[in-house]
Amino acid sequence: MGLLDKEFSDGNIVIAKVDDLMNWARLSSIWQLGFGLACCAIEMMATSASHYDFDRFGVIPRNTPRQADAIIISGTVTLKMATRIKRLYEQMPDPKYIISMGSCANCGGPYWEHGYHVLKGIDRVIPVDVYVPGCPPRPEALLEGLLKLQEKIRNESLRKKIA
């Protein structure tokens, strides 16, 4: 991580408050990597457009992985593309999050059986935070996925996890 890559062993009120503030900043400004794969990308664009307006949650597309916080895998990942996605993921600075959007990215979707060139689930390549089901998911579903991701970020902490 960037500024705060240290884990604190004991929690106290200061760390708890700092946690809240930092988490609030991260969750209210999730910039997605402007990058579409397949059908779901159109729904992702529709989510950013006027009717659903992703920007309400502070989400704006950044085209370079260096400035993005979240990557929305919007569509079928093929074997040819999977290596590139992995590379994009590696180019993003920590902390970074991944939303897997749609059945194809979750598990291969309708291409699970005969798709000789389809990766059956993006989680075989990179770790996923939130899975959004649907083929393609409605924009509302993607917004729900984003809210779930925000919830996940809200519960992160600088404190060392007690095993």
Partner: protein, 371 residues
């Protein structure tokens, strides 16, 4: 001593804001000047043709949705007409009318995205959002009919999955009234914007003979001035009953066949689609949309090639049947696949910024290029 110079290879994509998905372009550039463009495709190869061989005939329809995901109705339409041709069955009038209305609405929705992304590539972001807003209107019409926003699985072999909603006719008429002024607004905001014209006129000129030799179709071919439209040329369904024109590129602000012409053909086509819908919407006859759906689809042995006019051009399905429940081979003639071949030809001698304009005017969908 002379300085050693070499050309730079710039990789555009697969992750790039204006490659419309996962296209990769390899640009040979000298400064900003393009020496050559090599498209690399296949990043979305989803094995459609293999799936088609493994599925029964009706099961293939949902996969056709996912070819050209911006015009899923058109893909359904092409596939079902091809199979119906192979089966030789007659379709109820009501089904034909509803199919035509759906296909034309889909054409408008698809052209809206094409125009929006073309504008956004050149830097006009606001029209992009306006047009997506209007597209939502059409999507809600589809949604009330079949429950899906994008990928419908609506047209079945011999019929439709659902009959139209009782409100559909009224809402569609409302849409037509709402949409006509939008085209005027679009023309004011983007089409005749001085900067937009500067960026697209006389760029990527495609002569008509090159276009034919490269197999281009749809707005790309019509932009070059040839009034070729499968709906008139080779009428399928009931298109011969409607009165509409084929808009072609006229070189209004530049040379015939430039980016602006291809763009403007799409704008004019939206108006023609509205005309077709207007003619069809009042004439939908009564009937049952499920009556002609065969219980068991087992076409005779043989081959068939049939084509329809999709928003992006001529969409053809080549089906070989060996008399089984599954097709033996389905090959899709995807319009974007063929149109994209032009990229290398059109970009020569232009600047990096023009590549984006040209690509936007070709209006490709990677789903059907890679299949």
């Amino acid at each position: 001593m002379a300085l050693k110079t070499e050309t730079m290879v710039l990789n555009m994509g697969p992750q790039h804001p204006s490659t419309h998905g996962v296209l990769r372009l390899e640009l040979d550039i000298e400064g900003e000047l393009i020496l050559g463009v090599k498209p690399h495709i296949g990043y979305l190869h989803r094995c459609f043709e293999k799936h088609a061989e493994a599925m029964t005939y009706p099961q293939v329809i949902p996969y056709t949705d996912r070819l050209d995901y911006l015009a899923a109705m058109g893909n359904n339409f092409g596939y079902v007409t091809t199979v119906e041709k192979l089966l030789g069955i007659q379709i109820p009038e009501r089904v034909e009318y509803i199919r035509v209305i759906m296909a034309e609405l889909q054409r408008i929705a698809s052209h809206l995205v094409a125009i929006a992304t073309n504008g956004a590539d050149i830097g006009a972001l606001t029209p992009f959002l306006y047009l997506f807003r209007d597209r939502e209107y059409i999507l809600s019409l589809f949604e009330m009919t079949c429950g899906a926003r994008m990928l419908y699985n609506y047209m079945w072999i011999g019929g439709l999955s659902h009959d139209i909603h009782p409100d559909f006719v009224r809402k569609t008429k409302e849409f037509i009234i709402h949409f006509r002024p939008t085209i005027v607004e679009l023309n004011n905001l983007l089409t005749f914007n001085k900067i937009f014209i500067e960026r697209t006129a006389n760029i990527g000129i495609l002569p008509v003979d090159t276009a034919i030799n490269f197999g281009a179709s749809g707005p790309v071919l019509r932009g070059s001035g040839l009034p070729f439209d499968v709906r008139k040329e080779d009428p399928y369904s009931i298109y011969n009953r409607f009165d509409f024109e084929i808009p072609t590129g006229k070189g209004l602000v530049g040379t015939v066949g430039d980016c602006w012409d291809r763009y403007y053909v799409r704008v004019l086509e939206m108006e023609q689609s509205l005309r077709i819908i207007e003619q069809a919407i009042d004439k939908i006859p009564e009937g049952d949309v499920h009556s002609a759906i065969p219980k068991r689809i087992k076409p005779p042995k043989g081959t068939v090639y049939s084509r329809v006019e999709n928003p992006r051009g001529e969409l053809g399905y080549f089906i070989i049947s060996d008399g089984n429940l599954n097709p033996f081979r389905v090959k899709v003639r995807a319009p974007s696949f063929v149109n994209l071949e032009l990229m290398g030809e059109l970009c020569k001698g232009h600047l990096v910024a023009d590549v984006i304009a040209i690509l936007g005017s070709l209006d490709i969908v990677l789903g059907e290029i890679d299949r």
